[in-house]
Symmetry: D2
Subunit: 391 residues, 4 copies
């Protein structure tokens, strides 16, 4: 039995888009209201207020109406200008990629880079900041998804704060799946979205902004205004009595409310725990199957994505195709420099359930075996279940 | 009996967002697939191919993943540069507003303006083009929604074509509700979206691009690339075997497919006919009630939106609030220069059904009467029904 | 413009099935749980508890898993036996129809009948009961839908109670749209369903049962047991810790919970008020259009259904077909003895909004005019709006 | 990490209700039309016509509006009468249970019983029929779900046909998941429902009826008429131009159409193959884990349900509770005589995907281990994957 490319997959265990929670899907089907209808205006404010309790920025969250690449591009364009020196902490494809947007602003870019299976050392950040007191902004990617590695943003944030620079963090694929918020990591501009661990479809960005970040953006003449890229335009839009700069994505907001309600009802720490346990079970299983994770150390590995090194002699694209054809399971490839070198298993939102690790291990193991790289799947599953049992 | 602001409205008869068709709402709730899953890739190509049959541009339609202000801003940024002279045809708030985005490109803006209750005369366009042979781009707004007026884009397109300039048209609130396509109006860059007459929620832009427009954008060094504002990045994205520049809005695409399927199944000319009949019935009713439409001539009036002049002594915002409280009906205000001067009744997608004109007339008449401006609603309804009977 | 029979209607203003509330429709799409899953068991008990607050019977409501004809047939089969004498209060097709099920039990049927445009006089009930002290059960139909007439069940209930008989009431098309409950009308077996005024799809029955009714059913050897027709089997099924006699209709229960939540959130008295106002506006409009309602007196007319006498010379079926083709509006015919003699406009759940009376009047008036019976629709709409304005 | 009883389960791997296919769930949310609206009438006929292609009875399928216990009770009541002798083929709880309904008809019941882990031998049927030439009806349960055993209905049907009796088959939990239809098994009255292998929620019965069965029911004065239990009333209801005896379950019909469309699109033989492969993988895994299936021989085991004998010393209810708490997986218990003796894993509709066998084995193995009965889950998973690989 083979699943044809035209057959719906059975399990989408990717690093996003992932399937949304059923309650989110149903909310997307809600009546589309006029954006200035008082019911929708109240909904929008209520969503912002709920988000505020988990984003924990100094000011109300900003929702931008495009998936998080909009949030990231807008952040770079709004916060940076020709007079800035930005330290970019590069530990993967996404943190490196942020430089493109940052450079457009005219800011000088200073780079602190590590190999893409490593994470940033806060002491190194302190060292570079000491060398370059003129650094005004530090940018980091919390979870560099193409590597499945997590940077210690809380520790880095403390260093940045002491220096006095603004701290801009891409928390797109970590927020909602592990502990991170603007307050605990001293983040001035936190960029995330609901389409990863919150279990929504792609289409929105969520930003947490400090007072200093607002001040800097307002003082920046090049910060986008009257533009899809503007953050400034949306500062007050969360208030039910203020106009929207343009039409918000009504249905996505309805979906987001369902997602944040689920997140708060389950309790963030319970949600993080099941992400962490799923990933831990997955890693234990891989190890037992003789497979290596991509991160150089297990401590670097993300609870929302497990990146598995492609064994010698295996064509990674062929591997994923085989896994889909044989089991109906969809996994993610690497990206950019990690493309072809690893396969990623997402543990995000509805798929961050421990048994999904078993599904992933079985499918991955089966796919590898089919391509001639025999692994002991039974041992892998047993090891994963032992972690779950203890979890 | 009054509807509280927290009560859901009964009828949303606005000029957008309007409620989506039920089948579209259900499609929004479909399983969220990975964007590189072959099923989604095939869906995306299929949606583009269906759109192509109605957008009728020389090349495959481009879908941008934000509501049509993204499409418009991206069009201005991509098509225009410092060497360009753009003739902007200004007949309302939206056509005037486009200048802001156009000016950012460094292009020189030449303006041909008429009062906001008038429409553009193609002969005048020809005259200005003759005066300024260096004009490279002409921009028009097909349906300037804040006025409820429709410009003769097919005639203007013929004039522009003879001149040799590129023709950029904002067809956001007309496309899908009246006859307009890239071919028949010689449009080089048609910008629209599914959230008006196609009956989808806001969240996407649709662009129809001519070969000349692609060539000009590619040759434009300032055209956005690696940006949410890029059109160029998405040129080949419709193909199932090509990557997406960034994650598309999966659920909105699912909704769009349902909408385009409904549109093709009903047949565009049938869809346009019910928009036209609804608007005609509405105008007849208003006239019989002694109310004036905003357009200076009935021939200028849009089939997708009827703008009604606010009678002397009536506070327009209070009028809409009263109508919502009394009948649960939501109407649109004017915008910018037309704000306070008119109320707009949308006839878009699911609300473009003749009996909705009766609902609107009853609610508007009742609201006016409640504020002391007595109108003969019975006469209005009878006149509207006579139009429907004959239609 | 004509709506083809294959086109979806625009307004379903029938006496049921009516469209469900949007929130109910979305709930129908919820994940189908195993009936013995604790989440579903808790849901089932919670739904019963919410229903109990509005059914107001002495014991917990019983949900049967078929539309209300199941509830009615089961009630007759469970409550009645060869030794019983049942007084059937016949004021229409449905109350008369109940005799078929009652007679099967072997009970003797005594009938108190009035013409089908009249309602039952409680004094007459008292008179018959005095004549026949052996009457053990009195059956009434609260709202005899094919006539659009409402019997005074509270007054009748008081009479029945004094006599000591059990009172069985069909409240299918009244419950949720006007004040009626087991307590206030001294009903021993109230049969209703969520598919009329609660705005659910058809598929369930709801029963309110007094202690005496339970005792009588238990003592009845012929009462269905181990049968789809059994009420007894379901007595304890509402409890989360008790088994279901057979698999309940999971999705319908999910829909019912959404409906009861809406009903409680809006507030029953507010819901009844909008049903009443819609019907009053409708009747005023009909009168102004020179049309007659079916009930002999306006005081008999239902707030959930307005029955309009077919004018002389009009073919009723042709009239409804014309109304659908011309306006996309669906109305109900009469049934049995009233078939061909009247057209019914439903005011139930989502369609019990005052402006829907305007829609109905316009469509009905337009349809009559098209068939040659000209009516003054303007006058009708004006009269209806005056009622709404005052309401 | 534990799942609370109030947490939604992650996997419902029961023998029904099972979760519906996502496309079915969305269809349940479709607009509720009036049952006499031509669009719904056409839908109903279309659904019947699609069903006819897979039920393959001599006449059009009958849909009854309650879950299959309605279909079974109605079949017994309609087909049987005092003059009949029914041979009941008892191989489990459900086939035995049918006698209750059959006996009510006044028919004489002859029983051919085997232990509940065995299946019926067609030769034995022939023997009994030869002994009792007066047998008029033979009843069998194709898949006796509480045992997870499948009777050879095609072979039995041939025997019954030769005898000349009518053949009544409960195919509720087999139809749609394995090959069975009225034609190939010479079934005169096939009773099934969409809520098992077709992936719909419970709420409907589907009947396939031969000409002889219709003739017998019509000639049976005791066959229910004007009753929820009537089959006769619905004979012509599938036709768009015929009335419904009472209001059909509109939303369930919408869901059924989506389900039958999926079934036909995937292709019945592909659907059966994935049910069979899932079950085969499951059985191989159980064996490798040292667990025994309930059926005495593997050849008796159902492709839609795998029944696992409860190991010595394990409390079956506690086992399922532990599995739900630990993994979020819901399994089914036995019923009646098999209660406590086995646990059932459903492979039905959306859960009949081979990897679900891995999920079930992991959860079952983990649950047993937690209760002190250690099993080698790794070996089980490996064995299951080997079957999948070869499948």
């Amino acid at each position: 039995m083979r699943y044809a490319p035209s057959d719906l997959p059975v399990f989408t265990l990717t690093t996003g888009p992932v399937d949304a929670y059923p309650a989110v899907l149903r909310s997307l089907a809600a009546t589309v209201l006029y954006d200035y209808d008082p019911v929708f205006q109240a909904t929008y404010q209520r969503v912002a207020e709920k988000l505020a309790t988990v984003v924990k920025a100094e000011t109300m969250p900003v929702i931008l109406h495009g998936e998080p690449v909009l949030g990231l591009e807008a952040a770079a364009a709004s916060l940076l200008g020709p007079g800035d020196v930005m330290l970019n902490l590069v530990s993967g494809v996404y943190s490196k990629g942020f430089e493109g947007w940052a450079a457009r602003s005219g800011a000088e870019i200073v780079e602190l880079a590590v190999p893409y299976d490593q994470v940033i050392d806060p002491a190194e950040v302190a060292r570079v900041l000491a060398e370059r007191p003129d650094i005004t902004v530090v940018a980091a990617c919390h979870h560099d998804t193409p590597s499945g590695t997590v940077n210690p943003v809380a520790e880095i944030g403390a260093v940045v704060k002491r220096h006095g620079a603004l701290f801009l963090v891409d928390a797109v694929s970590s927020f909602g799946g592990m502990p991170v918020d603007a307050e605990s990591a001293a983040i001035d501009l936190l960029v995330t979205g609901p389409n990863k661990c919150l279990g929504c479809p792609p289409g929105l960005s969520i930003l947490g902004v400090s007072n200093r970040a607002w001040a800097k953006m307002k003082a920046n003449p090049a910060a986008p205004r009257a533009s899809i890229l503007s953050i400034l335009d949306w500062q007050e839009a969360w208030r039910a009595d203020r106009p929207f700069p343009f039409t918000p994505s009504i249905s996505e907001i309805n979906g987001l409310e369902a997602a944040i309600d689920l997140y708060l009802a389950e309790g963030p720490s319970k949600v993080w725990a099941r992400h962490a346990l799923t990933a831990a079970a997955c890693r234990a299983g891989l190890k037992a199957m003789g497979l290596a994770i991509w991160p150089a150390e297990e401590a670097f590995a993300s609870p929302t994505c497990t990146a598995v090194r492609t064994p010698q002699g295996i064509d990674e694209a062929q591997l994923r195709a085989e896994i889909r054809a044989r089991y109906g399971v969809v996994l993610s490839s690497g990206r950019g420099e990690t493309l072809g070198k690893l396969t990623r298993i997402g543990h995000m939102g509805p798929t961050a359930q421990p048994l999904h690790a078993i599904v992933a291990l079985s499918a991955l193991g089966g796919g590898l075996s089919a391509l001639g790289h025999r692994v002991d799947i039974g041992a892998g599953v047993a090891a994963a279940l032992a972690v779950i049992e203890a979890g």
